[in-house]
Symmetry: C2
Subunit: 222 residues, 2 copies
């Protein structure tokens, strides 16, 4: 069964992702045909996402937290509070962004799978202290949520900015995995009387719901 195992580095075989990183753990060593090699693919997966899952180590155990993020060039910015524990610990972090694109229904349960795009980034986080970078990092996070929103809303005060921790993570060591397309069944199973194909999954935005406290006369805009 292959409902899982993107970025799995525990099985033999596979190939290095030359465009992104040459380290062992970001090679896609299993299901190597799902490896995407170029940096553009990494940007596309990251820029299409709204939340990442941040992995840190706390007291010797892994902790995985959902959080917003934004990209500026080859740097990923995260709102700092979720990463505070890892910063104190001083270790590496891992950031994963996943898009579920389809449920892949094979003729055998064993070959059920998912279509997805995902990116995994490893690195030593850096606490942003430069005020300019802090502002541009936060801007990247908010713009990734809703493009154009930063300029539409009230800008951060000095006090708010001081109260906000921003973490930067280089995109130096990263991998991208993509699975798309129909199921792959065993030869003899194609004769079976079982429907097979893909149920596409999409994330959609609904109509804007105004804040009940919104002043009258203000129409929706970013």
């Amino acid at each position: 069964m292959t409902t899982s195992a993107p970025h799995d580095a525990t099985s033999p075989g596979g190939q290095a992702l030359s465009g992104l990183s040459g380290t062992e753990r970001t090679r896609v060593r299993r299901l190597s045909e799902r490896g995407a090699t170029d940096r553009q693919a990494l940007y596309e997966v990251l820029d299409a996402g709204r939340i990442c899952h941040l992995g840190v180590i706390v007291d010797g155990s892994p902790r995985v937290l959902p959080t917003g993020y934004g990209r500026d060039g080859d740097t990923l910015y995260l709102h700092g509070s979720t990463g505070a524990a890892s910063l104190r610990a001083g270790g590496e972090i891992c950031v994963t962004v996943t898009h579920l694109d389809g449920l892949v229904l094979a003729r055998s349960v064993f070959h059920h799978s998912m279509n997805y795009r995902s990116a995994v980034i490893y690195g030593q986080p850096r606490l942003v202290t430069d005020p300019e970078e802090k502002l541009s990092g936060l801007r990247a996070v908010v713009e990734n949520l809703v493009p154009g929103r930063w300029d539409a809303a009230r800008q951060p005060t000095r006090k708010e900015l001081a109260a906000t921790a921003v973490i930067a993570l280089s995109l130096e060591e990263a991998s991208v995995k993509i699975r798309q397309g129909p199921p792959s069944d065993d030869d003899e199973d194609y004769e079976l009387d079982v429907w097979a194909g893909v149920l596409p999954v999409r994330e959609v935005l609904g109509d804007p719901v105004p804040d009940p406290l919104l002043r009258p006369g203000i129409g929706y805009s970013k």
Copy 2:
């Protein structure tokens, strides 16, 4: 800015989640009003999801991998290959399931946020060796993908079953966080001429896409 920080245990304040766990790390210590305390909420968040993000430690660094899962009572089952490294290492794992429900646009950039439901589970994973439990665990994973699909597809052979590792994780230590509703702005900002509210986010299934190799005459069914 609060685009992030669900399950953050690094800030002061907050409360224990009495219905789920009393350990320090699953207390929602920040934004405590987002804590949901009962086991039913945990089940609902898990059962509404299709992928989780599995956190393991490999060579001293965190690794976060997307993978399928299924729930059977108070046990979560994962396809084993993604967890193989953690099993070898012998340590705890962390499993996080997140639903993004809305983009929360406040009048100030500082108060932008997201509506979400998320669950975080910590524990020592267990490699399932009992054949009956292995089968029921895999069934839970496939049924969580598409309910009813297990019985519709060809069952696993003995060989397939032997080739598949299944990991069990108890739901003993878990936390749930939920944020819903409009933005929360500073008092003075409600006078601003800025639209505020929520952009709802939904995951939808598209029309089934048949496998190009599907035999004629087989209509879609689970």
